[in-house]
């Protein structure tokens, strides 16, 4: 089941503004590993992960059809 990856802020400088579809990943750990391979600059970038708008900590299972957002440090206001 594919997951859709969206990124914001400084991460758009690395991954662009378009959502990326990744297939065949079971959890966020596998997803990040695959993204790091495709976008080496991502490995050193600070961000947290939200799965379907909920911030997750540690490796999180992806059931499929999830939206995974990579969120660099917030800078509102």
């Amino acid at each position: 089941m594919p997951v859709q990856v969206i990124v914001f802020g400084q991460l758009t400088d690395i991954l662009g503004n378009r959502p990326i579809t990744i297939d065949g990943v079971a959890d966020t750990g596998e997803l990040v590993a695959q993204l790091n391979q495709r976008y080496p600059a991502l490995a050193n970038a600070p961000y947290i992960i939200a799965v379907d708008k909920q911030i997750v900590n540690g490796n999180t299972t992806l059931a499929g059809n999830n939206t995974v957002a990579l969120l660099p440090p917030f800078a509102g206001g």
């Binding site: 802020g9 939200a50 708008k53 957002a69 440090p73 509102g76």
Partner: protein
């Protein structure tokens, strides 16, 4: 528990104008149980970084998530302080130095609750809402804003 307050949109394309703020104040003249308002206005600062001046900040957000999170913050602030009302507006898009990008407005029977709720709301939204600012320099190069 069913709450009476539904998630509200906080985002506006472009700067928040002085006339919008004035109208917003004016609209409270029928709420005569209010005795004090507190307002915070965030303005885009022309920071100078390595000799280059910031001319604008381009704001983007993960809007759906931000609105859900703002709703949680709003509920928590209403539970903590005896507020009559609260209004939050944040700009998206390119806001030039000197323009207003954030408007937080709290009202209560007495000043202390309004002031404390306003401060806490500003602090929480800066820390918790997924919003980003791209600082645009005179030569159109950019860097990403960091909240201090």
């Amino acid at each position: 528990m069913i709450t009476e307050r539904k998630p509200k949109n906080i985002f506006t394309q472009g700067p928040i104008t002085a006339s919008f703020i004035a109208d917003s104040i004016q609209k409270h003249d029928t709420k005569t149980n209010i005795g004090g308002h507190s307002i915070f206005l965030g303005q885009v600062r022309a920071d100078e970084i390595e000799g280059k001046k910031v001319t604008a900040i381009e704001y983007t957000a993960y809007e759906e998530m931000a609105l859900e999170k703002m709703h949680v913050i709003r509920e928590a602030i209403f539970a903590k302080y005896p507020l009559v009302c609260m209004h939050v507006h944040h700009s998206l898009g390119r806001i030039r130095a000197g323009e207003i990008c954030l408007f937080v407005f709290t009202s209560s029977a007495h000043r202390k609750a309004a002031i404390d709720a306003c401060t806490e709301t500003v602090e929480r939204l800066k820390a918790e809402l997924p919003i980003w600012g791209k600082e645009i320099f005179v030569d159109e190069s950019h860097q990403w804003k960091e909240n201090k």
